[in-house]
Amino acid sequence: MRRRALPILAALVGAGLIALLVYGVTAQSANRSLDELVARGRHPVAPESSRALPVLGGHGVRPLAALRGKVVVLNFWASWCEPCQVEAPLLERFQARLLRHGGTVLGVTYLDAAPDSESFLRRYKLTYPNLRDNAGTFAHAYGTNQLPESFLIDRSGRIVALSRGEIEAPFLDNALRLAESS
């Protein structure tokens, strides 16, 4: 019996290490639970909304929750992301329309150095508010690991639609309809 104990123990340890590896690989992959909930018509509360993030190009910190009561198009971007350069002017034009209906675009930079992000703001003359998620933890709560990604958040702070990839006109139309109707 004692002779068998050692191989059994070694096999258990090996199995444990493999299980740990499998868990690690699955845990590292992007979280798509928000996508599933939105697809099923359920509107999850925007995660990490009370986490205060530094204001880009300004002072202090601000949480997403500070915009509660407004329709928010939350847009993750970075200066090194080429599709973000394409959609930035579109979002800026959209901001003017959204503002009239009590909504706003909120940009959040993802793994981008502040000087680069600030020069991006100047280059595209962006006027909507922007926050910095330097550690990427806020973005990870939204399952974001590629850019750009946008989330439509209603006045009660719930996600009603999301767009992974470059933003498209129907998404913005949806945001405008929501702002007009609510």
């Binding site: 090194w80 080429e82 981008d112 150095a113 330097n134």
Partner: protein, 164 residues
């Protein structure tokens, strides 16, 4: 115009020379130390990660990696030290830029698993060592020659005595 004769005693002159030599040496050392402490882009690149590619920056090829390199180069040009550059990188890109696993959640296993493996190996060694020693002792006992019977021993002694 005649030169004024130096009337310093030799000991004072030697002391002055020694002081000058020390000052020159100290200056040269400071310059060398400054040159050695000044970080270079390849040195920093090896120590940090490309935060989006999740590979070391020195092998990363992407727009973000190039931005990160440019940011590091700007800090080097500003004359920042290596630790200051690392701190600035963490401030901009978060702790992930250092490529060190955090001490919480799943990342904690990066520290605990090697420790557990070492402890398990030590445990196995402690369990097996007495068994190996017992086996070695038993084999040594088997290999030792049995003592000769008294009759054969006497005959061997007699044979050997004849050769003396």
């Amino acid at each position: 115009m005649s030169r004024r004769p130096t009337n310093r005693p030799p000991a004072a002159r030697s002391l002055l020379l020694l002081l000058l030599a020390c000052a020159a040496f100290a200056g040269a050392t400071a310059v060398a130390a400054h040159a050695a402490a000044r970080p270079s882009l390849p040195t920093i690149e090896r120590q940090v990660m490309c935060v989006t590619c999740k590979i070391p920056l020195n092998v990363a090829q992407s727009v973000q990696a190039d931005r990160e390199r440019a940011f590091i180069q700007r800090l080097i040009d500003e004359g920042r030290s290596e630790p200051a550059i690392r701190r600035a990188l963490v401030a901009q890109y978060g702790p992930a830029v250092l490529g060190l696993p955090s001490a919480s959640g799943f990342d904690l296993s990066a520290y605990l698993v090697p420790l557990a493996v070492v402890l398990a190996l030590l445990g196995v060694l402690l369990a097996l060592l007495p068994r190996w020693r017992r086996r070695a002792r038993a084999q040594a006992a088997l290999a030792a020659p049995a003592p000769l019977p008294a009759k054969d021993s006497a005959r061997l002694d007699a044979d050997l005595a004849r050769f003396d």
